[in-house]
């Protein structure tokens, strides 16, 4: 943990802001549950209650955490050491992504052997194996991304370009925020994106999602001044809660399709499509409203953060790269069990709970190892680094 982080935490009451760890851990568990296809337990996750989902939480907290972890490096050591450290981190995330890709290839190779021909024709499954060298190359340059493996490439790209952004963010935060917003706005109309393989573009458009990452970084830099506290709480909470309830009502019509006819035609035409690729404004506002409510309602020293119930999420949140990657690996395994052994509701619950237990167990083991090897606080090396 950097000196800057320690002093910032001290300003918040002498310890780390456990809210970050808790909500990042919660997002990681949601992402794990959502990544197991056909898993009823994913209904617990935030995506079923509003426009945004765990990805927004993860990317925002990642931006926030990068500033906490590396923001002080620029002052103490300068730009090059900062760049070297962030790029080393990006490289580690890249290596983790490629490892997961290898697991993915093993998984689909097995499945395609036993695959139901009823669907093979339409889904064109064989095509990706027709030129394995091309597939491997496209995966290495992050152009080919299997289903549910889109978040890490986004994070890698955001990390790779972040060193100069940190410098600018510390000097001209308002300009950086304005530039980030304008880029996001331009993407909504121009649809700039990176190309993907075999067709199309990145599922998480980095030119759009950078906004949440940078807003997260900006919030971390301004956490002591906390400009959001200048909003009258009654007004801020009123507007935020009204919007969250509105989103809940609309999402209910997705869950129970026949209700869609009760949404006025003019409103449906304004609302849809709510695009995830380009971080639709409705998703962005939903996340910001949610974050505002959480920040106002959950104080840094909230009692529940010290409870045993919050502990598993907090320790998962402290080791997010390991937990994210293990979560993707376990979601492959969980999916394999559900599709090859038994997909009953009981099995879905069992697989989900077993996966969560393994993730928490892993996080606890890493914390123990960090303590045993003398790293401060058993994971505080990651005080805020997402994935550090």
């Amino acid at each position: 943990m950097s000196a800057g982080v320690i002093s910032a935490h001290a300003a918040q009451g002498g310890g780390r802001d456990l809210r970050l760890d808790f909500f990042r851990g919660l997002a990681l568990i949601f992402i794990f549950l959502n990544h197991i296809p056909g898993n009823a337990m994913s209904w617990l996750s935030s995506r079923n209650f509003g426009f945004s989902d765990a990805t927004e939480i993860f990317i925002f907290i990642s931006g926030y955490s990068v500033i906490l972890a590396y923001g002080g490096v620029i002052d103490r050591q300068g730009f090059l050491p900062l760049t070297a450290r962030i790029w080393r981190r990006a490289w580690q995330v890249y290596a983790a992504h490629i490892f997961l890709f290898v697991v993915f290839v093993a998984h689909i190779s097995y499945v395609s052997e036993r695959f139901n021909p009823a669907f093979a024709e339409e889904m064109n499954i064989g095509e990706i194996f027709e030129a394995p060298h091309t597939l491997m190359f496209q995966a290495l340059i992050l152009a080919f991304k299997p289903a549910n493996m889109d978040v890490l490439p986004l994070y890698i790209v955001l990390l790779a370009v972040f060193p100069p952004v940190i410098v600018l963010l510390k000097r001209q935060p308002a300009w950086v925020l304005a530039g980030s917003f304008l880029l996001w706005l331009a993407v909504q109309y121009r649809h700039w994106n990176l190309p993907a393989y075999p067709d199309g573009a990145w599922f998480f458009n980095p030119f759009a999602w950078q906004l949440l990452f940078i807003v997260g970084g900006w919030c971390a830099l301004r956490r002591d001044a906390a400009p959001w506290r200048r909003i009258p709480p009654r007004l801020g909470l009123g507007l935020s809660l009204a919007y969250l309830l509105f989103a809940l009502a609309i999402v209910a019509t997705w869950t129970y399709s026949p209700w869609a006819v009760y949404v006025p035609v003019w409103l449906r035409q304004i609302l849809y499509p709510i695009d995830k690729t380009e971080l639709d404004v409705l998703r962005l506002l939903h996340f910001l409203a949610l974050a505002y409510v959480v920040v106002v309602v959950v104080r840094p020293g909230a009692a529940f953060l010290g409870s045993w119930a919050a502990r598993p999420f907090i320790i998962c949140g402290r080791h997010s790269l390991q937990i994210f990657c293990t979560g993707v690996f376990l979601s492959f395994l969980g999916h394999f069990i559900l599709s090859e052994v038994n997909s009953s509701l009981g099995m879905q619950v069992g697989v989900s709970l077993a996966g969560i237990a393994l993730l928490v167990g892993l996080a606890a083991t890493i914390s123990w190892y960090d303590r045993a090897s003398g790293k401060r606080g058993g994971g505080s090396r990651t005080a805020g680094s997402v994935t550090s």
């Binding site: 689909i108 009823a118 075999p198 999916h335 997909s343």
Partner: protein
Amino acid sequence: MKVGSLVSLCLAAWGGYPLAAAEGGKDRCVFPDELRSANFPLPGLKKRLQQTSQIVVLVLGSSSSMTGQPARNPRSYVQDLDLALQAAFPGKTFVLKNLSKRMQSAAEMAQRLPADVISGRPDLVIWQTGTVEAARHVDTNSFTDALIQGLEALRRAGIDVILVGPQTHNRLATMIDVESYNDVLGQIADRESASFLSRFDIMRYWEESGTFVLGSQDKGAQMREAGAQSQCITQILVEQIRRAVTETQ
């Protein structure tokens, strides 16, 4: 009464339609009400049903909508759709035109609309899409644009449309992200007040409830089960059309 049960009864009453979707006396086509499409009207078709005895239905889709395919492919939901419609609307004759093609994307289909679809003045278009986009990782914005462009062209021409979403199978889920494209279809259908049959949601329910056994190692059994599943989709599609013309203003 559940949708599938009602349609099964109609078809059984007609007597000429094989009920392979029923097994051991149990109707396997049932699914929860919340997975039903919003009941948006089909005013053009409703009017034509009142005016004429011959209705032209045009199908535009990819592989799963193709009929007369090689034996390695299972029965399509489009097979015998005309007979099922005739059973649901006694006294009417349904002429089926199928323009489906393998690996045809929504954008390609939207381009075909003026020359191949609208010019023929069908009374109903069944537009199946989404799987090809998922397989090719097509940008969801392009998919959205193609859908809106196509639906608006059909609306301007006064032709009713039912959207049919992609199929699913849990084994495939890590290879191909069908759900994202199904979500786009659902949202665009709501936006355009278009009827939408979400095969994805219904088939996922069947899979979770163990209604159809598609994971068997016996490829022949897999094909039979997939065919029975398609037969259920035919029934559900017909029931959706019936509700749209009889239960809406």
